[in-house]
Amino acid sequence: MSEHEIAATVDGATETATVEARRLLVHALRENWGYTQPTVGCESGKCGACTVEMDGEVVKSCCVLAVQADGSEITTVGGIEGAPDGLAEVGGDDVAAADDDGFGPVQRSFHEEHGLQCGYCTPGMILRSRDLLAANPDPSREEIREGLKGNVCRCTGYENVVDAVEAAARKLEPIETDGGAPEDAVDAADGGAD
């Protein structure tokens, strides 16, 4: 059984730990480093409660070994700010100033639409909803349901979750670029290798 020194940036802070090879990322986050927003539901990759962003991509941290995350940048729902990538909130700074809870538009929509009850699934729901909106800023209800299929909720019956994502989409607009190709187009051209 090997032990490994790992270091990762979590929500902007550098975190280090010595972990057994078998340690799961979600346990390193929660128990070594105290980031308790990713929760542990099914422990088998199905429910999405443990979702975090790893190097910019949403992943289920119960299916990633902590050693595999060595050197990576992790964002939990506690570390997100503002609107999803490539989007800005309609009304911009005024809305943020009027609303000083520090929540971004997706989080506020979950609050306003009652997109949560116990909140266990919510960190994963918020992260995946932001990811979904970044890729598809104007999703249909069907696309929202399909897009959230890896996130299970035992409380809401999903209807309000879908409402929340729709409401968030209405709050958001793509950031104007000056005609240049968005960065993603360049990434995709090289086969998406990272």
Partner: protein, 297 residues
């Protein structure tokens, strides 16, 4: 649920990875979305886990010309999401199948090579590689070899890839006038395919040519549907509806092996829905082939 104890290595070259795998107790780790759950369930108890994540050369998608034919070469460690982002032309069924895998988070980690190497009987990608007549490239201590997609899986979670070998890439022949598609009935409990069908065909002089139709979820290994393929040859691409439905009805004819069943989906149910998903896959493949530039239906 915690995995059992094991050692962990992360080699930074293919040679170093093969050296590490020479230890008979070692297993490779790609995206981990098959292996990590199996470790947690203690269905696998390796001495060493060899993380392939450092092998950047096994990632990415490119067009290559081999023996005069154009092929798409997909590095084994290319994630499902990276393949979908690259959106290469000419591999419709593969893109359809990849987009059905699990969910967005799983596709961000799961790899094309891992999906094939895991040889889960209900994985989506193997249906598409079989229908496309793809080739898997393997490398081991004695050098490299190629295996046709149809000869790779030998059973439920069993393949011809030995413990000290790695899949390095899969190469898919590109045919400018072929169309492909994948359709699946999702298993209500596992979320994998109850049955999934990939179809790939061409339209030549207004008629279906070279149809290849393959199913997963049905037997322990991906299987072609010979009676469907036979009945599709020469079908008029201009008014195909009845002929495709008739061909699809014959989906279970001539397949070789016991149809899978579990406490949720019986063998009979799988056989009952197979024609419907066969028809969907073939119709969509045909519509795409007809839509290809230069093809006259």
């Amino acid at each position: 649920m915690f995995p059992p104890q094991f050692d962990y290595e992360r080699p930074d070259s293919l040679d170093a990875a093969l050296d590490a795998l020479a230890d008979e107790d070692a297993v490779p780790l790609a995206g981990g979305h098959d292996l990590v759950p199996m470790l947690k369930a203690r269905e696998r108890t390796p001495g060493t886990v060899v993380d392939l994540g450092g092998l950047a050369a096994l990632r990415g998608v490119e067009r290559v010309v081999a023996d005069g034919t154009e092929r798409l070469s997909i590095g084994a460690l290319t994630t499902d999401a990276a393949l979908l982002d690259a959106d290469p032309a000419g591999v419709d069924a593969l893109l359809d199948a990849t987009s059905e895998v699990g969910d967005a988070q799983i596709r961000n980690r799961g790899t094309v090579g891992g999906n094939l190497a895991a040889a889960h009987p209900a994985s989506d990608i193997p249906a598409a590689t079989l229908a496309a007549g793809a080739t898997l490239h393997l490398v081991g201590p004695d050098g490299d070899r190629t295996v046709p997609a149809g000869e790779f899986a030998t059973g439920d979670h069993e393949t011809v890839c030995t413990d000290d070998e790695l899949v390095t890439r899969v190469s898919v022949p590109l045919d400018p006038d072929a169309g492909g598609a994948y359709a699946r009935k999702t298993h209500p409990s596992t979320g994998y395919a109850a049955v999934g069908v990939a179809a790939r065909l061409r339209v030549v002089d207004g008629a279906v040519a070279d149809p290849r139709v393959a199913a997963v979820g049905l037997l322990d290994v991906p299987t072609r549907l010979p009676a469907v393929e036979g009945a599709l040859v020469g079908v008029d691409a201009g008014s195909p509806v009845d002929a495709v439905a008739g061909a699809a009805e014959r989906a279970t004819e001539g397949i070789d092996g016991a149809v899978r069943e579990d406490h949720v989906v019986s063998a009979g149910q799988r056989c009952a829905v197979l024609p419907e998903y066969t028809e969907r896959a073939v119709s969509a493949a045909l519509a795409r082939a007809v839509g290809r530039e230069g093809v006259v239906a």
